[in-house]
Amino acid sequence: MHNEYRELSWQGLWKNNAALVQLLGLCPLLAVTSTTINGLGLGLATTLVLIGSNTTVSLVRNLVPNEIRIPIFVMVIAGFVTITQLLMNAFTYDLYLALGIFIPLIVTNCAIIGRAEAYASKNPVHYAAFDGLMMGLGFTSVLVLLGALREVLGYGTLLAGADRLFGDWASVLTVSVYHADSAFLLAILPPGAFLGMGLLIALKNALDNRIEKMFAQQQPEKTVTRARVTTESN
């Protein structure tokens, strides 16, 4: 049974990562990742919506007729996004101002309805919620990575504006890596986001290839056990 959790984590964080593999939710991803904190903020908001919508969709999966499931999923997701937006407006006001239009845009993030349709509507609540968490974290980690990359290159800082997300004490978290008189524009503007995203995808594929090769080299010695392992995992 616990294998399911391990599989969900592996799928969400790496193998089927919403941003790097499924390439879903690119619009908010590319638009807000000019700093680490903006990326983290939107990532956490998306994760929250994913967990909420996955849980709800899974809870009602037996009540919802097949023909009208999509409008109902959309309604559930839109509801959660609006609630998240209100909560951010109330409790992280500065971040809300910074992320602005991109919070309502979470609705259009296909990763969310994709998970509702592909997983949550067919699986029990605890798995669906866990899947939401892992998919969200996978998405968030890409947002944070890309944000950090662009922030270091563009502004020469890391975690600037952490106080907007965590409160005043967090301003000590900001690291100044180097000081530039004028920002490196390419990294901050949208083209930088595309370039950074491309590099991240390439890096992931390179890592995957290397791991595959390592396994391929080990494989011949284990030919006997291989058959058994495969049947087990099925």
Binding site: I72, M75, L86, L87, N89, I188, L189
Partner: protein, 220 residues
């Protein structure tokens, strides 16, 4: 078939009611916090454009609402906040818009003494290019502080321009349009304050803490 449609319709309606209900509940629960956040943000900005020694009153709760497309920018219902010491008005904070920024409107809050000396300017919202025009934002560069203590009058009008145009304010490397727009918008705002001073100071308070003001804040 018909029965099926009816059933599905009912289920859809039930979900619509349920989600709406949830949103309404959240909205009710967060409403006062959101208003409070907006007010405290406004207070914070007002306090940076009008220094503490120039006001004893709650500036955010004392304003006149005016419209002047020429001097304050196209949007209607701009607020002029009034600051008083010992019951006498000594300064104003004027909402203004520079409609000629590099990409869209730049909303400003301009603090000025009654004699036309600027006490502080802050950019409330803008969409200028990151790394170039966004240096007008106080969180990015100190440029906006150059307005502090500058006095606007009809004689000094020609000095209210960027250096490239023969004025006293720096432009940015690679971005002249943005600072040019901000400088002239600030000048126009102060000019508006000077021209209409007596009416502005005598007018009734439109911002006394009431629900009407909150509604307006939401509408923005």
């Amino acid at each position: 078939m018909i029965r099926n449609i009816g059933k599905n319709g009912a289920i859809l309606a039930a979900f619509a009611i349920l989600t709406t209900l949830l949103i309404v509940l959240t909205s009710l629960a967060t409403d006062s916090t959101i208003t409070q956040q907006q007010q405290s943000k406004l207070r914070q900005t007002l306090n940076t454009v009008i220094p503490a020694n120039l006001h004893e009153n709650d500036i955010a709760a004392n304003c006149v609402i005016v419209t002047d497309a020429q001097l304050l920018g196209p949007s209607a219902n701009r607020r002029i906040y009034r600051a008083s010491v010992n019951g006498e008005y000594v300064a104003m904070a004027i909402e203004a818009t520079a409609p000629d920024g590099y990409s869209g409107d730049i909303d400003l809050l301009v603090g000025t003494r009654l004699d036309g000396t600027v006490t502080g300017v802050r950019v409330l919202s803008h969409r200028e290019t990151p790394g170039l025009g966004d240096k007008i934002d106080a969180s990015i560069s100190d440029w906006i502080l150059a307005f502090n203590g500058k006095r606007y009058s009809d004689e000094s009008r020609s000095r209210w321009a960027v250096k490239k145009d023969g004025g006293q304010f720096d432009q940015f490397t690679g971005a002249t349009i943005t600072p040019r727009a901000v400088v002239s918008a600030v000048a126009r705002a102060v000019q508006f304050g000077q021209q209409n001073q007596s009416e502005l100071l005598q007018a009734e308070n439109n911002c006394a803490l009431d629900t009407d003001h909150e509604d307006n804040a939401h509408a923005q």
